[in-house]
Symmetry: C2
Subunit: 395 residues, 2 copies
Amino acid sequence: MRLSDPLNAFCAHSTARLQGAPGRPLSGLAFAAKDLFDIAGHVTGAGNPDWLALHPPASRTAPVVQALVDAGADMVGKTHTDELSRGILGANAHYGTPTNPNAPGRVPGGSSSGSAAAVAGGLVEFAIGTDTGGSVRIPASFCGIFGIRPSHGRLSLAGVVGQAPSFDTVGWFARETDLLARVGEILLGTELRHAPRPRHVIVATDAFAIAEPVTASALRPAVERIAALVGRSEQRAVSASVPLAVWFAHQRAIQGREAWETFGDWIDRNNPRFAFEIADNFLRGMRVEDTALTAAREFQAARRRELLEMLAPDTIVCLPTAPFPAPPLRQPRSTMWAKRTAISTLTSIAGTLGAPQLSLPVAFVDGLPVGLSLMARPGADEMLLAFARELPPDL
Amino acid sequence: MRLSDPLNAFCAHSTARLQGAPGRPLSGLAFAAKDLFDIAGHVTGAGNPDWLALHPPASRTAPVVQALVDAGADMVGKTHTDELSRGILGANAHYGTPTNPNAPGRVPGGSSSGSAAAVAGGLVEFAIGTDTGGSVRIPASFCGIFGIRPSHGRLSLAGVVGQAPSFDTVGWFARETDLLARVGEILLGTELRHAPRPRHVIVATDAFAIAEPVTASALRPAVERIAALVGRSEQRAVSASVPLAVWFAHQRAIQGREAWETFGDWIDRNNPRFAFEIADNFLRGMRVEDTALTAAREFQAARRRELLEMLAPDTIVCLPTAPFPAPPLRQPRSTMWAKRTAISTLTSIAGTLGAPQLSLPVAFVDGLPVGLSLMARPGADEMLLAFARELPPDL
């Protein structure tokens, strides 16, 4: 069976399909999996044709995929990803860039580009991806759908092509919060009706300062509704001591170096084809010095200690998911470099903290979707999902 | 017409052919041109599929190609090159690596890989390529054929995809020295019977010290024959003041930075696919600082002054073309990095000096060809070609 794929969301090379069991919580729902997730008997392509050509079929199915199929959902296709998950815009030089159905002529965001496009375009009900440096949150924002990066370490990465273990997570997308929550119940192995309710909102002034003013303004009404619903709110910086740009600089050092540790031997042996940008990412990571790595890890530990002091278990933080809507396709590299830096500065907050972050498609800028994020302490995934489900649809 | 191409020497994407005039010096001889040379009405591919896709057909034929066709030769095909001429081994991740007909399982050398393979395999009588950092000399050595890099600036680079103007040259290959010389007469616009004869040989001890001992030993008998034929010889270092490794370090800085100046805008705009190694080359060049560039240019000028003092117009220098025979295909990147450094240290001598260098296939190591080079002052191309033509075939 050939998938109908007007959005170039699905990998043409993969025939991997899994039928869900009937009579289960997710029965009858179609989902897609980023081509980083192993499906037994199929090669995981990871967005790079040389990776695809040089790897054998997976021997088992990734537990997160299996959990969804066991819960009744049908895995109907593997979706495109930025090469080896290294990209935030959703462009793939080998397979083409998935279409952003809600922002024509714009990138879909990545690296879980195909999963986001498939959900936004209605090709599937939900989809799974991975988020190391924003790869679920950013395409959710750019494509105008819901997406969550859970707490670091909450979900199994077995059978998933990882990138940087300090930041890798499995996340998912849906077009409405009820399904986002139901998928969360399966993957987190929990029931959301017992989840605590947030009692306090922090509006992250330093994060909003990174967003372009028109995007920050577009998100304000939703922030005010959320603050009113929760009851108690304050405006403050999430970073007490240093600019968020420093957070990102340290995350980039750790992530880049870990990505080289993950893929460097394979790259050295095989000299695979990469888009220029991807090779640049790997090479910068390869050149991170030990001293920079040590400093970055110490910095990250200090930020986590601060967070636990600042964020009570019943607190959520509001921040822009991305600083702007999806950029146009095919911009010069120098333009995209600046945009990637701004994007990653925002996503490095939850990345550094290991915190869960849920993006809500609450506004538009010039007709293009922009997402508002809710973040909480590590482990508070249920609170975020349950709260999102209760939000009014016209937020 | 489809070329018979058992060696993957020719570009499948190019149908460019030019018929030579009858009754001219090169009439009836078939030649091939590296896919960096423009042929009117055809796109020049330069070894990268995105370059090919994003460029229009050339409006005119490169003058060096036209000169050969006007001299009667038939241009029968465009040949593979390392991507944008950036490589010394002859591997191309997109189009495959041309077969080295004289060293099975080994790289052909590059970047004029297809031209060398086509000549070595008898598919054409001669072929043209370019040599910036060794791209004619090295494949000549690895494939066991004759090849010359002429003096910098001797031949027109119009209609040629250049890389680093301080080093770019047009060179050519043949299976015997008479044809190498006849092609030289056309391209240099000269008659070799008036060429001076060398009266003095310098055996470059520092260059031989870079070669692997077994390769240096294999070249010795030919060196002794040449010294005897010329009559007067001495053993000495070509670099009076600094190790040759420093020559290469400075050449690499200039070449890398100039290559970025040549291609950087195009790369930034288009984010083309490159093999990892090629992207690494470009990125290292991009990051060469102005101070390093200035120091390298001063170093190069100092070496040229020294050379003019050392090398009388009737002197030739003998040196190994490459430090070893062609390496095996598909070695790990770390292995190849060391080999490329050793190769480029030898080729940086003529590169730094702008000197002509002619490689002779005089010996074998474990059945694999190795080349001996003759170098002379800039402008002494005719002396090298005429002397090579007079060498006994059993040298």
